[in-house]
């Protein structure tokens, strides 16, 4: 049930785009208004989220790391895992963002006969997650050919590299294959592993179905249900130069399906778990140096506390204490 509703939602989005374009001729709505709105929501929404996180004070260092911290000189510190310097923190963050280092430690847990709890290495999630994110990024960068008049050389080089197998025409992109395979794996994982299935919510399935829908519609458009790609570029170029116009015999319905799903993804992004794109940079266990023993961190929400020291207390009660036979520090 928790997977069915998101699935139906994505199907409805696809149907909306098809009906909107084929029956109601709303090309301008689906090709211009919604994409602009989605881009604005995405940009403003992510900035809003990050700023709202930035306003939350972090009262102390959270060194939940899994390496040896800096201590006595003859004990080797784990400099990346448990850094005390900014350079260490930056290295840890870069490795986290580009290589998903902490996911690499992912384990599978099994209750064996005995009963005995056992842990085993499980790198598939890391591999699929990393492949998915990297191919998504590369596809997005390749798409810049639709958004730039003189396509930057690095984008063209990426395109050549990606299609160097020279399979079929238009040439097969390697990233397309890996992308679809990885998203499918991530989806099947939620269906088949009981523990993961148990904790999966509609908000976990929806982005997966949506992204799978985007990938499938893109692949369909490139290799199967072809559309006029030059018309697509005329439309996208008119969008980025703020003079939107739908080309005369513009691109086919499949393009509007692709675009509508992307608009949905971008508009949904800031309000969903997908903002972890910005969140990873603000996660305290990744971006704080473990230097609690070298630098004094004052809790930012401390207010001035009125203190009454023992000295003042003794001054107040010295005579009474003496009469009661309680030892005092000052006569």
């Amino acid at each position: 049930m928790r997977a069915l509703l998101p699935f139906i939602t994505v199907i409805v989005l696809v149907l909306l785009a098809i009906v909107g374009v084929e029956a109601a001729n709303l090309q301008f709505l689906f090709g211009v208004v919604i994409p602009y709105a989605a881009a604005a929501i995405f940009l403003a929404g992510v900035i809003y989220k990050v700023v709202s996180w930035g306003r939350v004070p972090v009262p102390f260092r959270i060194p939940t790391t899994c390496g040896q911290q800096k201590t006595l000189p003859w004990i080797k510190q784990s400099r990346i895992e448990n850094p005390t310097t900014s350079a260490g923190v930056i290295t840890r963050m870069l490795l986290e963002v580009f290589l998903f280092r902490s996911l690499f430690r992912n384990l599978k847990t099994e209750l064996r006969e005995g009963p005995q709890l056992s842990y085993g290495s499980d790198k598939w999630l890391w591999l699929a997650g990393l492949s998915f994110h990297w191919t998504f990024l590369l596809i997005l960068i390749r798409h810049l050919r639709f958004f730039t008049q003189n396509v930057p050389i690095p984008v063209q080089m990426l395109e050549h590299l990606d299609s160097f197998l020279q399979i079929g025409l238009p040439l097969l992109y390697i990233t397309d294959v890996i992308f679809l395979a990885a998203v499918t794996f991530l989806l099947i994982r939620r269906f088949t592993i009981p523990q993961v299935k148990y904790i999966s919510l509609a908000a976990d399935y929806f982005p997966l179905f949506l992204i799978l829908g985007i990938g499938v519609s893109g692949v369909l458009m490139r290799y199967f249900i072809k559309t006029d790609v030059v018309g697509v570029k005329e439309l996208t170029m008119s969008l980025v130069s703020f003079s939107p116009a739908i080309p005369k015999d513009g691109p086919g319905t499949i393009f509007y399906v692709h675009l509508f799903l992307i608009s949905a993804l971008f508009a949904y992004f800031p309000f969903s778990k997908l903002v972890h794109m910005g969140g990873v940079f603000l996660s305290p266990t990744r971006n704080l140096a473990n230097n609690s023993r070298m630098v004094r961190h004052v809790n930012p929400w401390n207010y001035p506390v009125k203190v009454h020291t023992y000295e003042e207390y003794e001054n107040d009660f010295r005579e009474k204490m003496k009469t009661a036979g309680i030892p005092v520090e000052k006569e």
Binding site: Q149, P152, L169, P170, D228, G231, S241
Partner: protein, 132 residues
């Protein structure tokens, strides 16, 4: 905001990346493909038409060329019957580029616009064109 400087720097980078397509094209002339059909062969045609209808050709010509290549070289069939029943000799150089002998002003116009570089002409000959 806590650590405001670093967060604002990060957000500025993010905003720059998101708006890159909008910023990159500022001041670059809009250059849409300008296709020329005035080749000697096409000029002599009574009804100017391609192998298949124009809309089909725009979207599917790469697929068609792939099918042609497979037909000719794998099946040994060098004759193509179009959807309108006309017969064509299956050949990139002798059919497509016989009519479209102005490759630079036709094929390349689109391909440069889209930054696609078909590798066919590593081997296949291109028509000799007078560079104006």
């Amino acid at each position: 905001m806590y650590n405001g400087g670093k967060i604002i720097l990060g957000l500025a980078v993010f905003a720059g990346l998101v708006t890159f397509p909008f910023l990159y094209n500022i001041g670059q002339a809009d250059r849409q493909p300008d296709l020329k059909l005035d080749t000697p062969v096409i000029r002599q045609m009574a009804v100017k038409h391609c192998v298949e209808p124009k809309a089909f050709m725009r979207a599917e010509h790469m697929q068609l060329l792939n099918d042609w290549r497979n037909e000719a070289l794998r099946q040994g069939n060098r004759e193509y019957v179009s959807s309108t029943g006309e017969k064509y000799n299956i050949s990139l150089q002798n059919t497509c580029l016989h009519c479209h002998s102005n490759k630079k002003k036709f094929c390349d116009e689109c391909h440069n616009y889209m930054a696609v570089h078909p590798y066919c002409f590593d081997c296949h000959l291109q028509p000799k064109e007078n560079v104006q």
